[in-house]
Symmetry: D2
């Protein structure tokens, strides 16, 4: 069974809520999921997971520095995360406020680790986005993304 780490930085609680919605969806699909605040994740533990789903509030159009700090430290594992899966989500204050660039920023770091990512032809293409407190639209996107991640994981990790 594939093992997923859903991690996030959250001050307002919005990004955390999205993390929980995605985790619930991944669990529902039968994955083994840990949901951990990014500041509590040990960099060495990353090798234990098959799938990384990282979320950040949209801070100046890029991920919060706390998320980047873990990713910078992950350089000690460089090459060992090759072939794993990555996905990202973000909560923002405004439409057009940098939520897409925040998600793509996280996805770029995953690509540089050699990870596999997937888009979505419906809804939030790059990853789930919430504008303010997650509403039904955002929740639906989190749930849907969880299902899609699980479907791909079943093909990749058996």
């Amino acid at each position: 069974m594939a093992k997923a780490l859903v991690s996030y930085y959250s001050r307002s609680g919005n990004t955390k809520k999205m993390a929980e919605d995605i985790s619930a969806s991944l669990s529902n699909e039968g994955l083994d999921v840990d949901v951990i605040s990014i500041e509590q994740v040990s960099v060495d533990s990353l090798v234990l997971y098959d799938i990384f789903v990282f979320g950040s509030p949209t801070y100046y159009g890029t991920m919060a520095y706390q998320v980047k700090k873990l990713l910078d430290e992950s350089v000690k594992l460089h090459g060992k995360l090759d072939g794993k899966m990555g996905a990202a989500f973000s909560s923002a204050a405004n439409i057009g406020g940098g939520n897409e660039t925040t998600i793509l920023d996280i996805l770029n770091t995953f690509l540089i680790h050699g990870m596999i990512i997937q888009g979505d032809p419906k809804g939030d293409h790059y990853g789930p986005v919430s504008i303010g407190v997650p509403d039904e639209r955002a929740k639906g996107n989190c749930q849907r993304r969880g299902k899609r991640i699980a479907a791909l994981a079943k093909k990749l990790f058996k």
Copy 2:
């Protein structure tokens, strides 16, 4: 008086409506403005303008090919648009659907021409975004952007 070209590709009419809102705001601020569909713009005419405000629907997270076609052809003017101003806007079907990447895609082409661009600390930071038919939020952003472009133009082009 600075001369601005507001140009757009639009099939549904949403991007065109945004072009008109931005143009009205630029005119209000005293700029000399042409609003022309991108397919009617002659590449040679670009040297006559000080300011370019280009809009595109969000098609697969990047500008419509019709917009890119004109920009590809503008290579014959390479170096002659250095120091002019650029700005961009986009209309999309969904939140998180690629509107930011479309705007940044256009802004990147302007940067490579050596142009000057500016963000906005309020609202749509990279450029005005509409989700579907421009609503009051989108109209406000178009109007505000027009004012900001005019304010910078007054400093740069006298």
Copy 3:
């Protein structure tokens, strides 16, 4: 056996050369490969492939409009390319001249189609890049990328 379409726009021949190097590598790994200039690809034929590897020269930091034109037209297939694989490459005149943004631009369109993409922890992380005529460094990256695409394809398409 997975079927790949390697397609490109090329005026100088540099991007075409990269397409040939990637294709040779994919064939070597046992994939069924078509290499076709982007202007000759029929949009309807896209459903027949499992893997898309698209290349473009770096024109103003984004893909050439000829590449975008096909991708814009592919909207008629929207949803039908979900779960397929995508990869991208670019040739540029200069380091720091927009080659990464060109590749990411193509990858974004693939993500919006719901495709699966993968990075590389070594060399050209987002996709192979050539500065001018492909040298040994660029050729090595094309060959390596072909192997990696084939390895993932074997997991996804059986």
Copy 4:
């Protein structure tokens, strides 16, 4: 006289060397320049500058977390940096290794503060890039960028 802050994070010394080359060029053009390691910059001091030139090594395709930390903290000044100038540079291990995305990442944060940025039609379009230890190519780009920043500053801040 416009006042510039050139700041950087550097472990290998490569990004620091670029910072010094850009600073020398800005000073030569008559600007008042401070060159300070990013970890020593007080966030409150940012309001004192007209121009920000920030550099980072390319770490996973985005800025080092130490650079992002200062930018995250700058939210307390949000709105007060509107209309100032921004520019960015990066040193990377490889071509195609994320240097452009690192620079654009920094530029996006500046845009969200409402800053003014400019590209360059020659050389490194988005900002100076070094592959490894800055060579003559990279030094030339740093010097050229300094001149261009100074030329724009003279128009904007008098």
